[in-house]
Symmetry: C2
Subunit: 434 residues, 2 copies
Amino acid sequence: MPDVNVGIVGLGNVGSGTLAILAENGEQIRLKLGFNLRVKIVCSRNPDAKILPKGLGPVERTRDWHDVVTHPDVDIVAELVGGTTVAREIIEAAIQNRKSVVTANKELMALAGAEIWERAIAAGINLAMEASVAGGIPIHAVLREGISGDRITALYGILNGTSNYILTEIERRGADFEEVLAEAQRLGYAEADPSADVDGEDARSKLAILAALAFGEKITPTDIFTEGIRRISPIDFQYADRLDHTIRLICAARQTPQGLLLSVRPALIPKNTILASVRGAYNAVWVRGQYGGDSFYYGQGAGSLPTGVAVVSDLMRVAREILSGSPERVSPFAHPRLGEYNPIPVTLQRRAFYLRFRVKDRPGIIAALSRILAEKNISLEAVLQLPSDSKQDLPFVITLEPSVEESVQEALRRMEGLDFLVEPPLALPIETAL
Amino acid sequence: MPDVNVGIVGLGNVGSGTLAILAENGEQIRLKLGFNLRVKIVCSRNPDAKILPKGLGPVERTRDWHDVVTHPDVDIVAELVGGTTVAREIIEAAIQNRKSVVTANKELMALAGAEIWERAIAAGINLAMEASVAGGIPIHAVLREGISGDRITALYGILNGTSNYILTEIERRGADFEEVLAEAQRLGYAEADPSADVDGEDARSKLAILAALAFGEKITPTDIFTEGIRRISPIDFQYADRLDHTIRLICAARQTPQGLLLSVRPALIPKNTILASVRGAYNAVWVRGQYGGDSFYYGQGAGSLPTGVAVVSDLMRVAREILSGSPERVSPFAHPRLGEYNPIPVTLQRRAFYLRFRVKDRPGIIAALSRILAEKNISLEAVLQLPSDSKQDLPFVITLEPSVEESVQEALRRMEGLDFLVEPPLALPIETAL
């Protein structure tokens, strides 16, 4: 069999992991494939700075990505630079030159994946993106082929390792968000500007890709209701624990009679569910199928080598498809064409809520709050107060019976003027579907 | 595009689930594939007894499987009868007639999968067996393609739903094995003859298939060290709990410097590992990759519809491969040819152990037992005794520091003559690798 030749653009974190695996595990890969997967050319902005791992054979080097996408011997281009500008040019140029594409780019695929895929189909080449979501979990292979016969009704994910690390550290150590974030930054788990992680945007891109894959709809990431984890404090884990729950940043996609509901937000989840056991920088995806029931997938969220495995596995699959003459055999989105997504406000849903208040203690607080809730036809389920030293910043929690979120939000707005509130109430949904 | 035609042999549990999904979810399947997956003919021993679901279009019926495997229009034969005799004839006849094969048959695939696959390759057709292990978990797709770039170093599974149900009910209710088994039989979770489930043979077949898939070796199931769960009692869960562990029937496959080590046996696993959260009739697989790290897969172990999803997803994949002209694109075992497996006795491994005794109370018991252990150079880690009413059937536990199992087994044999033992000691390994 002839070789299949790969050109790699970007030798950062993911690119180095990919090359290390191709070099070290090359013999097993060759045995599995029955042919050679050769690295023909690599491109990085500073090609002299990086020493390539041994065992790759002769590899051409360049600083100009055009050399990769136009290389006559290259069959597959791996775009591993990230971002939505140059990366898009690289991928589009590769498609124009009829090279198949493997990418780890969540942001670009969330933003323009469907459009890029249509160009790929038209050009008769393949586009693979396993590495774009949850590097260490082959969730694309699962949704695209493994359970393709099922009809997915809901998908829940923990898709941002940094947020999950921070939340589980707040839980474990009882430390504040700011303190844990600062430590995560020192350890390199969080970036200097952490907002993409802790405000939910990174998770939102990943949810947009997984929802497209699972439900066959073209999602605009900015249509997704998104809330970050900055307001979660140790006291919230103590109250959640009292309710036999914990708190995670949950990416949710659910089919409802009104349509597909999408959200990224911190939520209370029962302690005895398997999602609650996801700690540290791990990712997980919970899938509910109409026929197959519940299944669950867990692994490293990121990292050079786990993401490298996803890139290499994609390269192997695409290489097989090229040699078997069927490069575009399966759409990366499982569905051959994505339908138009009609965003439905999650706030129209009925669900149970956790409301956490901090108040200056005085008589009549519960009466004032419950009056406002009653005016919006919202029923209290319980009022919880753990022992506290402070009279000036007294936390307590009200849980609500399932209520339409819009009414809850209106009630919260009416509470804004109450002079005993030290800060606006924190409202978290309680996930009962898991 | 032309239709791809399926012939189904066997309309039992899995066959009915498969037909129900093909009928109900047919439109989405057609959309995903871009062509029709048609049920052309079905075979069951009593074809008049079963009414086919609506929505399949015209379907031929027969009592003779030869009509399916020789049908000129059939492209894929789904063998859903089980067992190793007729099923093997059906599959071999299908291959001879150049039909691709989808099977749910763990027993046959564990016994002769490699051989059957070689015939399939020679005939240029495909053989798919996602449904043969853990119906609700697409673990074949994960190992075959999803993480194919990784080098797997260990795989741990909970692969028998009946045993896991029984163990977790013993744990939850404190009831004896026999009582829980009888109830499981009443509820239909266990068969009248439960031995294949509770003695580990069913799990052993599944481990043989997964190990072949993950490590590329041709495993003979009877070479696998196998122990069932009949001796596990509520007291073992109490002691395990005291050690912050629980007990599961663990299928293990580990690469060691000496070779591949395989076992199916009840073991203590730490409570805070994700495998410990697998309860009831669920299955799970934990995979450790040299590059990707740990990943975990969880879902229904069996059942008409979950297994049907696996069959339908395989049918979709094989149908795509037929239409794209590459029926044999990927081996069901990931590796194109399976190597010879050299069985290594698990008893040569060093590991920590849990020994549970039942004794008639009298002085000198610990002295007698610890003398025998010392003679085999085995170190005690701890002696545990929970309060008990009985002096005649007093349970207690000794945990051992990591020791070569062969020495532990010799020590246990030497203990056989001790007159204070009410029954032979129960020895369970303590899994520390999870």
